[in-house]
Symmetry: C2
Subunit: 153 residues, 2 copies
DNA sequence: TTAGGTGCAAACGTTTTGCAACTTG
DNA sequence: CAAGTTGCAAAACGTTTGCACCTAA
């Protein structure tokens, strides 16, 4: 999973600006900081994680703003919200081109991301079998990773 | 999805009793009511749903008992906990033989359950590619159901 | 008799909201 | 200047816990 090109981030900004313009929303300093931090993040951030990052740059930003900004990003489809079992919501950038699923170690909580076109294809087949128009999906595989298997043995 | 045979429920009871015996836990009236209600339920119940059912039979049962009983059922593998986006945990009976995934309408929240062996097989393939021993998985497809599609048109 | 279980209410951690002050367009 | 946004603190929400009392084994 390498870094995303500047042009990919640019596209996210464009989509966000477009959405904000269409809805009469304003571009504030706080929103800029939160969204830029988020777009440059990797992996799955909790609000807490993100707030910590954001406060390095703008110490006065509060919880509520981060929550509200991520709600906005969710609404315009730029962020996915994930729940991995603990009570915390985690957020992930919704890159245009990319879709991956998660392979999670049930022991050490390590998360591996993978893509498998054959599975995606079968998913579309299932959806159409029931007449659904597929919008998105969530696939999580839970298992024991090699390291934890050998630790146990 | 037809009703489960009495012998299937009997097997759940047996597994529960076994677990309780091994852990020195006691069989109380409240636990019996909650587990029986749960075993005879269909679909995905929230604690609230289940409590409501249970109180028809035993009005004095409290939240805490239902939470504690479902925690127990989770521990012995007889209940799965699911999260479908709203903040609520929902529980589903873990029938021995059966595994299904969920197809969820993003508009009306209707939930269809399906099984697709080919997907399961590919999942095992992915897991083993990363050296994981697969324990369980969660697959949710979100889409627009036929009814909601025609409502929009 | 004693370890476990219950019900209540209080505590908890995360997320949302009301509001007065402030900013953006 | 009007409408949107912020930060704060309070509220709300689902869930867990401490505790005195109860009950199964």
């Amino acid at each position: 999973m390498e870094a995303h090109a500047e042009q990919d981030v640019e596209q996210l900004r464009a989509r966000l600006n477009d959405y904000m313009a269409r809805h009469g929303l304003r571009s504030t300093e706080q929103r800029r900081v939160v969204t830029e931090m988020f777009f440059s993040s990797r992996g799955h951030l909790s609000i807490e994680d993100l707030l910590e990052q954001v406060r390095l740059e703008e110490p006065k930003i509060g919880y509520a703003t981060v929550y509200r900004t991520l709600k906005l990003l969710k609404e315009c489809g730029l962020a996915y919200e994930r729940h991995f079992g603990d009570g915390v919501s985690r957020y992930e950038v919704a890159w245009e081109d990319e879709h991956h699923d998660h392979l999670i170690c049930a022991e050490c909580e390590k998360i591996i991301e993978f893509e498998e076109d054959n599975i995606e294809q079968l998913q579309r087949k299932v959806a159409s079998k029931y007449g659904f128009k597929l919008v998105r999906h969530k696939l999580e595989l839970y298992g024991i990773c090699p390291e934890c298997q050998s630790k146990k043995a």
